[in-house]
């Protein structure tokens, strides 16, 4: 028994050296692909949620994402819905769009902002959303921000 344990121990020690040699050439790539293959996603409070629909406008589009609800009573980010106006370079100086979030044909929000100072006004047309009057980031669930090639707006839900 003692002998077998020693053999196993020494085998493990040698295997460690083999792992070192394999790490930069094989293991690192395999592990990376393995993690990517788990189909995990970034939490929607950071990513903004899944894309629900894309609304085409004249020269730009509005990417509407699914609402991100509260999933835990301790969660500190209030529920919100995210929209992205893209590409930012082709937006007019003053944007004012009525947005149908749930695809029922009725506008849910009137979103207005100026692209230079990012001063945002959101007027709900249907209950379920809170009005917003801000310039910049109030919280993770209430903000307007320039992100990559778009302007992201988050409106808190009631």
């Amino acid at each position: 028994m003692k002998r077998w344990r020693a053999i196993l121990g020494n085998t493990g020690a040698v295997a460690t050296l083999a792992v070192l040699l394999a790490a930069p050439f094989f293991l690192y790539g395999w592990f990376q692909n393995g993690v990517a293959a788990l189909h995990l996603r970034i939490d929607p409070q950071y990513s903004g949620g899944e894309v629900a629909r894309v609304i085409q406008r004249d020269g730009y589009q509005v990417v509407v994402r699914k609402p991100v609800p509260r999933r835990s009573p301790l969660q500190r980010v209030d529920p919100f819905v995210q929209m992205t106006w893209t590409p930012a370079a082709r937006l007019p100086a003053q944007v004012s769009d009525e947005i149908d979030l749930d695809g029922d044909g009725r506008p849910d929000l009137l979103v207005s902002f100026d692209t230079a100072h990012l001063k945002l006004d959101v007027t709900p047309r249907t209950p379920g959303y809170r009005p917003v009057h801000t310039a910049g980031v109030v919280s993770f669930s209430e903000l307007i921000a320039r992100v990559n090639d778009g302007i992201v707006v988050r409106v808190p839900l009631r």
Binding site: P69, R70, R71, S72, P73, L74, R158
Partner: protein, 221 residues
């Protein structure tokens, strides 16, 4: 809908909501189970006490809401108040419980000094700590609970609503059963020390959360 169908619906809703309930109750439940260092049956008994308290919280809140004619889908301000009060309650209860944990019983002072009174209170509280912690956890309006409440309110009577809640509760509780396996750590004496420190840290968190949430409530009154 017949009672059987309602019960099945509630059970399935509970099972699908279980991960959220487990995640939000675990900070309160798991350190307590670990701290007691009991056998599997002892840990199971503690879990049953916690879940019993949680059920009482669910049903009590649901009864109250039904009788007052309130929707469980509370207005944001009311929800903030409930969260804040529950967090404050949990901070106090966790602190009292952690304070009462110690390796060996101490001699209490015969002169009734404040430290001794606090120690006696903690000792007395220790017995019903799991139930009270479960009760306060049950009062927090977690989204699955609200969804279940809204659905229960659509039933025709209070007994059916309570039946719905009870089966919903059973469904969520299935996810809590593996926590009995914490009994494996009972052989490590250090677990009690770690659990005590953890409870103080968690109490600090809940206390901070209560201050911020209640501060927000009263400042925006």
């Amino acid at each position: 809908m017949p009672a059987g169908g309602l019960a099945t619906e509630a059970l399935l809703l509970g099972i699908s909501s279980g991960p959220v309930c487990l995640a939000s109750c675990s900070p309160v439940l798991l350190p307590v189970l670990a701290a007691e260092r009991k056998s599997v049956s002892g840990t199971g008994a503690l879990l049953a006490q916690f879940l019993g308290g949680r059920l009482a919280g669910y049903l009590g809140f649901a009864c109250l809401a039904w009788l007052l004619g309130l929707s469980l889908n509370l207005e944001p301000r009311a929800r903030i108040l409930v969260y804040g009060l529950c967090d404050a309650g949990l901070a106090a209860l966790l602190s009292a419980y952690a304070f009462g944990l110690r390796a060996a019983p101490e001699k209490s002072c015969e002169h009734g000094c404040p430290a001794s009174r606090a120690r006696r209170f903690s000792d007395r509280y220790h017995t019903f700590a799991p139930v009270s912690l479960g009760f306060v956890s049950g009062l927090t309006l977690c989204p699955p609970f609200v969804a279940a409440g809204v659905r229960a309110a659509e039933t025709s009577s209070l007994p059916l609503a309570l039946l719905f809640f009870a089966f919903f509760f059973v469904g969520t509780s299935v996810w809590f059963l593996p926590s009995v396996s914490l009994a494996v750590v009972q052989r490590f004496a250090a677990v009690a020390v770690v659990a005590r420190f953890t409870l103080f840290l968690l109490a600090a968190w809940y206390g901070y959360a209560a201050v911020i949430i209640l501060g927000r409530y009263f400042l925006h009154a």
